[in-house]
């Protein structure tokens, strides 16, 4: 008996995921934001809905990825070895990014020799911000115990409801460790369940990806329409420098990623294109996280899911390379704007404080994170409130590229750890 012929799909929507279509959507969105601001504001809800669809999956993916990978990690003998490797590699990456941003900032000199017009525009921006609602209050550093307290949720369901990523991360890690330590069939069932749920969530992500061109178009258009052109013009050098640093980091990441995965740049970029586009279009590391995991563990790069599923979510919360770029560059900009010369100890302090401030802001929303530049500026005697105001003014323009650099560096870090584990196993064998 012949089997029924397979139904032929009358149409395919895969063209919506094509890089060409996505790129066109982004370019049209940018043009719309620049030249048709009223229309761009009108279609802003489309982008907001798309972002919400992505965000809907983030917490479940974060939890299932962490529980599964940590559970499997702690059910093996080499847990401690992994943890040390993740911590050491993360620190190396964090300080390297900080040093790179510092060196480029010193070389470019974003706050030096500003034109009179630029100074007037900056002065107006600061004055207007000071006079409205009493200005922006600078972020204050959290003490170590405050940080610990904020990490531990009193009600995990409330933390999920509030999107408190740091608390969710902590709970997931603890649950994963406990599951791994229990071992046996109990751990096996739980980890199978979380792994299955993880795969289901990825199916949902793949459906959402069909809406990517529409979402990117709307998000970019509305962001650009809301950006104040005056401050942008005054800080053009700083903005261009941030873009330059981010692109340099992405370039270096690509080189390292190619070495770690033993693939060509074309294959690597092709595998990571979705996560890069989502990161750039949404300015959300978390929104791009599922696509980043998929890119690394998929057919093109084939990295170990256990490592990737652990390091990417962990890095998305804790390794905030984007904030390091901003804090370091903003410190150099502030020193030059106010005519302060940074000594070698000041530069070393900038390097270290940028990393600490970025880590301390884990889980904090965007605006709060920007305000935490005060952790670096205040010890150096630089006016934090003024710089925070200027950073917030240009944030819509720099956020896409620093977010892209952030997720891409996390991807590279994960790949490096996964590759070193692979070579360790190969060497042991």
């Amino acid at each position: 008996m012949k089997s029924a012929p397979e139904a032929v799909q009358a149409y395919s929507l895969d063209w919506l995921k094509s890089p060409v279509v996505i790129l066109i959507a982004m370019i049209v969105g940018i043009l719309a934001g620049l030249f048709f601001p009223a229309f761009s504001h009108m279609i802003a809800p489309v982008g907001a809905i798309y972002l919400k669809l992505l965000q809907m999956t983030i917490i479940p993916i974060l939890m299932t990825a962490l529980i599964t990978s940590v559970g499997r990690l702690f059910s093996s003998e080499s847990a401690r070895h992994y943890i040390v490797k993740i911590i050491v590699s993360s620190l190396i990456f964090l300080f390297t990014i900080s040093l790179l941003a510092l060196l480029v900032s010193l070389l470019v000199g974003p706050g030096e020799d500003l034109s009179k017009e630029a100074q007037i525009l900056l002065g107006k921006t600061l004055n207007a911000a000071d006079q409205s609602d009493g200005g922006t209050q600078p972020g204050t550093s959290r003490g170590f115990f405050d940080f610990l307290q904020s990490m531990i949720p009193s009600n995990v369901f409330q933390a999920m409801g509030e999107g408190s990523n740091l608390s969710i991360l902590f709970f997931s890690l603890v649950l994963g460790v406990a599951t791994g330590k229990i071992g046996g069939s109990t751990a096996h069932h739980i980890l199978n369940f979380t792994d299955a749920l993880f795969k289901v969530l990825f199916k949902i992500i793949s459906w959402i990806m069909y809406l990517l061109p529409f979402g990117l178009f709307s998000l970019l258009a509305s962001e650009l329409a809301s950006t104040g052109a005056e401050t942008l013009v005054a800080m053009a050098k700083f903005v261009a420098m941030i873009w330059g640093i981010s692109l340099l980091i992405i370039l270096l990441d690509t080189v390292v990623l190619c070495m770690a995965t033993r693939r060509t740049p074309l294959v690597v970029l092709s595998a990571m294109k979705e996560s890069m586009l989502i990161a750039f279009g949404t300015s959300s590391t978390f929104a791009s996280m599922p696509a980043a995991i998929d890119g690394l563990t998929g057919d093109k790069l084939k990295m170990s899911p256990d490592i990737i599923n652990l390091v990417i979510p962990l890095g998305a919360v804790i390794n905030r390379f984007s904030m390091i770029i901003i804090y370091t560059s903003a410190t150099v900009f502030a020193a030059q704007l106010y005519g302060i010369s940074l000594s070698v100890p000041d530069l070393a302090l900038t390097l270290v404080l940028s990393v600490l401030a970025a880590t301390a802001g884990a889980g904090a929303p965007g605006i709060v994170s920007i305000a935490m530049v005060s952790i670096v500026l205040i010890p150096l005697g630089l006016p934090a409130q003024a710089i925070t105001i200027l950073l917030l003014a240009i944030n819509p323009i720099i956020d896409p590229i620093v977010t892209l650099a952030n997720i891409y560096t996390n991807v590279t870090l994960s790949a490096v750890i996964a590759a070193s584990e692979k070579s360790s196993h190969t060497a042991a064998a």
């Binding site: 900056l122 002065g123 004055n127 000071d130 200005g135 106010y338 010890p379 630089l382 006016p383």
Partner: protein, 274 residues
């Protein structure tokens, strides 16, 4: 006995009589400057005493004529009475404005006047027709050099800041009260205060929001170096002055000025009149 009574009572009685004789004279001096709105109407003009120096955006010269918020207000009063306005901006101090009122050379004095305890003994202030907040203008770098925990007003209030303010009892008392740890120094006028702030010789300047705006109006780039912290809990009313005996005139003015008080913001002031 009769002589004792006569002697002990006669002298005080004589003194009292002299006082009674003098008192009507004093009373006559007061009532001489007494006038009502009708008196102004009959005189045929509203005489306003104002400072010779422009005080933006309250009084300033434009195209050869006096303009500004106070001038507009004076015109409104004159129109309400039904007489033309005589704007006499030839005075150079608060004391001269008061003297003009007392000598009946002016019916009312304008020029962004603030209530002062000393002057209040001699003249009447109208109710405020504009209310301004006080502001702390900060030298951002000098403040940061003191390593405050943060730049909030609460943190700054506890620092021993060198604060400059105007030589006026209201400013001085408010500054001392608001910044108990601060070292307050006074300056004759707002131009001197701004000059000292710009020269970096003080940490902050305590003034009202119009005076604060003067710093940035021609030099917006100063917003980079100098911060602006509003103190909404401290307010200052801008008033006009009339002579002491003129109760009816004062009551009528307060009735006219009442609807306009609190409706104008500083930004609107500068937008409309600068």
């Amino acid at each position: 006995m009769r002589n004792i009574i006569k002697n002990n009572f006669l002298l005080p009685l004589l003194a009292l009589s002299c006082l009674l004789l003098l008192e009507p004279t004093a009373h006559a001096e007061q009532t001489e400057n007494y006038q009502t709105v009708q008196d102004i109407r009959l005189r045929g003009q509203l005489r306003v005493a104002a400072m010779a120096e422009p005080i933006y955006p309250f009084t300033m010269q434009k195209d050869g004529a006096w303009r500004g918020y106070d001038v507009d207000l004076a015109n409104r009063i004159a129109t309400a009475i039904g007489v033309p306005l005589n704007w006499d901006a030839t005075y150079h101090s608060n004391a001269e404005l008061i003297a003009a009122l007392k000598q009946n050379k002016a019916d009312i004095a304008f020029s962004r006047i603030k209530r002062d305890l000393k002057s209040a003994r001699q003249i009447h202030y109208t109710k405020p027709y504009i209310t301004l907040n006080y502001v702390l203008l900060t030298n951002r770098m000098r403040i940061m050099a003191q390593r405050p925990g943060d730049e909030s007003i609460q943190a700054l209030s506890n620092l021993p800041l060198q604060i400059g303010t105007l030589d006026h009892s209201v400013y001085l008392n408010m500054a001392k009260q608001r910044f108990p740890a601060g070292r307050i120094s006074v300056f004759a006028d707002i131009a001197s205060l701004h000059a000292v702030l710009k020269a970096g010789r003080i940490d902050a300047a305590f003034c009202d929001e119009v005076e604060a705006k003067y710093l940035f109006i021609e030099h917006a780039e100063l917003g980079i170096r100098f911060g602006y912290i509003a103190l909404p809990e401290l307010k200052s009313g801008i008033v006009a002055m009339v002579d002491w005996p003129q109760q009816h005139w004062l009551a009528w003015l307060n009735l006219l000025l009442e609807p306009s008080s609190g409706n104008t913001t500083v930004n609107q002031l500068f937008l409309n009149h600068y």
